[in-house]
């Protein structure tokens, strides 16, 4: 029994997602270990983003069960929850493959929006905030501090008052991670965080992810195409192909799995020959 099966933060059981006739995810089951960095990999169109959309409530899965086990012992059935509650109560945060920042707002504002729910309570659902309650001011100061902390960790603090849309691509990716972390997640889902980064930025990203996992009791589930990132930082790799799980194990084990090699490099020539012989071409 692998370590991720003993104390999983997220359990996905028999997840199936159909779009009309297309089966994007087919009977997928795996665990995400607490405190692990888990990588979900697979060729283009394998259904990785669809899995993310299911577990963050943007799609309602056709079948299956997704259980989030929080540190405080609470369990949430994510497939039954509306998307905003998954972030608010189940503490699952995510980033998007095509970055979704609030472009016309500053970096700081972006991170303040991420702390909407606690601030909303502190502002007495706005009523207290209008009259400038001191408890709200204190909560707001703390929120700014938390935002600054993450801006520092992502190296963006000197641009805090600049609009997010003005950032270079790599910085936008990091800001999206900072924003997700500001919502205080226990599971962070990253959709291709290293896409479009240069090798230096990619190395910085690795360090950031390691830091988050170590210091913040946040488990990470990431989709990644860049094998160097996957091999270097992940404890556990799940490989999807055409919506089905074809391999599941440590990075080293998955790397040598012939099924994975076939999926990535195409089917070996001998197999094609064998099939052709069978049908008689």
């Amino acid at each position: 029994m692998s370590s991720w099966d003993i104390n999983p933060v997220l359990t996905i059981e028999h997840l199936t997602m159909r779009f009309g006739g297309l089966v994007a995810v087919d009977d997928l089951s795996f665990n995400v270990g607490r405190g692990d960095i888990t990588a979900l990999i697979g060729p283009n169109g394998a259904g990785k983003t669809t899995v993310f959309n299911c577990l963050t409530g943007f799609y309602k899965p056709t079948e299956g069960r997704i259980v989030m086990n929080r540190l405080n012992g609470e369990h949430f059935l994510l497939e039954r929850m509306p998307d905003f509650q998954i972030s608010a109560h189940a503490k699952v945060a995510r980033t998007f493959q095509n970055i979704r920042l609030f472009g016309g707002m500053t970096l700081l504002e972006n991170l303040m929006v991420a702390q909407h729910n606690p601030l909303m309570v502190a502002s007495g659902y706005t009523i207290g905030g209008i009259f400038g309650l001191t408890s709200f001011r204190k909560a707001e100061r703390e929120a700014v501090e938390r935002a600054c902390y993450w801006l520092e960790k992502t190296g963006l603090v000197d641009r805090a008052d600049a609009p997010a849309a003005d950032l270079p691509y790599g910085d936008q990716r990091r800001l999206e991670i900072a924003r997700a972390m500001c919502s205080g997640p226990e599971l962070l889902c990253l959709d291709e965080p290293a896409a479009g980064l240069n090798p230096k930025e990619s190395a910085e990203l690795n360090a950031l992810l390691q830091y988050i996992r170590k210091e913040h009791q946040t488990s990470i589930l990431l989709i990644e195409h860049d094998m160097s990132v996957v091999m270097e930082i992940s404890d556990h790799v799940v490989v999807l192909d055409y919506g089905e799980k074809i391999s599941d194990g440590t990075a080293a084990a998955v790397k040598d799995d012939p099924k994975v090699i076939a999926a990535y490099l195409g089917v070996p020539d001998e197999e094609v020959d064998a099939v052709e012989e069978e049908v008689g071409i």
Binding site: F58, D83, F102, G103, M105, L108, V113, N117, S123, R179
Partner: protein, 444 residues
């Protein structure tokens, strides 16, 4: 070189001549002949020829086309581009924005006294009435700005809430004899209530669909008011709506009236001035609340919603509730303005709440620059004030006015004030404005 420029000139002339020829063919029939009942022929139909008019028309076409060819269409350096650069640029206007707020505020507060000293009590009445009208639209613009400018929800039926506010006051006063000061909050609450009623089913729609449904809602309210004769008086409207009192003191002549209590000579202008200050205060409260909310989590959530709704949901923001609060709040301020409208007019009918009102309010918000508070003020002055200002031009008024709007939109496609001020900054300073090119307009 010279042959080239000659070529260019003959080209232009040829093209203009072609245009003139077509004009001749058209105008010789359209303008050149006029059927007339000629009195000399004993009432029979005759044709009058007007070749001089045709010649003028053709000359205008030829000359106009030649000039356009020479300076705009065929030349490499069109004058229109230069004309564009003659307009003041964004950066030169930026300091204006900083002082505009206090200057406007002081002017607004002193306005009645300035007018009184300039035109006297009798002469200033007309200007005060205009000022009240403009301020009402400023308030409506600020109310709608919450919905359209901040939350990015395109609402084409805002006038419905204005109507709800006006009719709430009129009906409450008529059936229960409530005074203005009791009805004002009630009207706001009722309008907000209707905002929520409408919002629930509608706010799951986006963009164009939201616009169409809100437009329909505005019409439904008006049609109901028009047809529910027993209750609302239908097209006859409601008259005799009580005037507001100055905290219980009526603006009447004689014993116990406003002038008597304060030891002034009675003048009807007192009530006008009071109404002006009333709407000014109501508008300023709207502004204050909006500015305040922008710095609170709800306000930031509205703006985030306008930027990217999906990202909002991924951060745990209940987008339905957030949209509803924007809608209800905008509606509430519309309702306040509506009950002010009712008390000022003393008479309301459904005719005051047609779609054109919604369009004017929306135009003020868009022209001012989505989300900009001071922009709304300037746009309201330009639109409502300008409309009255051009009254002397009679039938050309609409034309001039339309031209003005086209020019503004060409010059500043994102509205007069097209920067967004951050709601919070780390440096503690006001922070640089964010160019509107980066700010999303929202998709419903």
């Amino acid at each position: 070189m010279s042959s080239k420029s000659e070529n260019f000139f003959t080209d232009c002339v040829k093209d203009a001549a072609m245009g003139g020829l077509i004009a001749l063919a058209l105008f010789s029939v359209l303008i050149g002949m006029k059927a007339e009942v000629a009195s000399g022929l004993g009432g029979g139909l005759g044709i009058e020829y007007r070749w001089a008019a045709v010649a003028i028309a053709v000359a205008v076409v030829f000359g106009g086309r030649l000039l356009l060819n020479l300076f705009v269409w065929k030349t490499k350096t069109p004058v229109t581009e230069k004309a564009g650069s003659l307009m003041p640029s964004m950066s030169s206007l930026a300091p204006l924005g900083k002082y505009a707020m206090p200057v406007f505020l002081v002017l607004a507060v002193l306005l009645p006294f300035l007018l009184m000293s300039a035109y006297g009590a009798r002469g200033s009445r007309q200007y005060l009435d205009l000022a009240i009208l403009v301020t009402t639209y400023v308030m409506l613009g600020w109310g709608l700005n919450i919905v359209v400018g901040l939350a990015g929800l395109l609402d084409l039926g805002y006038v419905a809430f204005y109507a709800v506010g006006a009719y709430s006051y009129a009906l409450l006063a008529q059936y229960f004899g409530f005074s203005f000061w009791i009805c004002l909050p009630l009207a706001g609450i009722l309008a907000a209530f209707w905002g929520i009623i409408l919002g629930f089913p509608v706010l799951r729609l986006r963009g164009d669909y939201l616009a169409i449904v809100t437009l329909a809602f505005g019409e439904i309210i008006r049609v109901v008011l028009l047809n529910w004769y027993e209750f609302t008086g239908g097209p006859d409207g409601i008259s005799g709506i009580p005037r507001p009192s100055f905290f219980g003191i009526e603006f009447t002549r004689g014993e116990g009236g406003f002038a008597d209590v304060f030891g002034l000579d009675y003048s009807s202008i007192h009530r006008i001035i009071f109404l002006y200050y009333l709407i000014l205060i109501m508008a300023l409260i709207t502004n204050f609340v909006t500015m305040r909310l922008r710095k609170l989590p709800v306000g930031r959530a509205w703006e985030a919603l306008r930027e990217d709704e999906i990202a909002c949901r991924s951060l745990g923001i209940n987008t339905t509730n957030t949209k509803l609060t924007a809608f209800a709040l905008g509606a509430m301020f519309g309702g306040f303005a509506g009950s002010f409208f009712a008390t000022r007019q003393g008479f309301i009918s459904p005719e005051s709440f047609t779609f054109i009102e919604s369009a004017v309010i929306l135009a003020i918000v868009v022209l001012g620059g989505l989300g900009s508070q001071i922009g709304v003020v300037i746009a309201a002055i330009v639109m409502i004030g300008g409309f009255e200002f051009f009254r002397g031009l009679e039938e050309y008024r609409m034309l001039v006015f339309g031209l003005l709007m086209v020019i503004i939109m060409v010059w500043k496609p994102r509205g007069l004030i097209s920067t967004r001020a951050p709601s919070i900054t780390l440096s503690g300073k006001k922070g640089k404005g964010i160019s509107a090119d980066l700010v999303q307009e929202g998709h419903g």
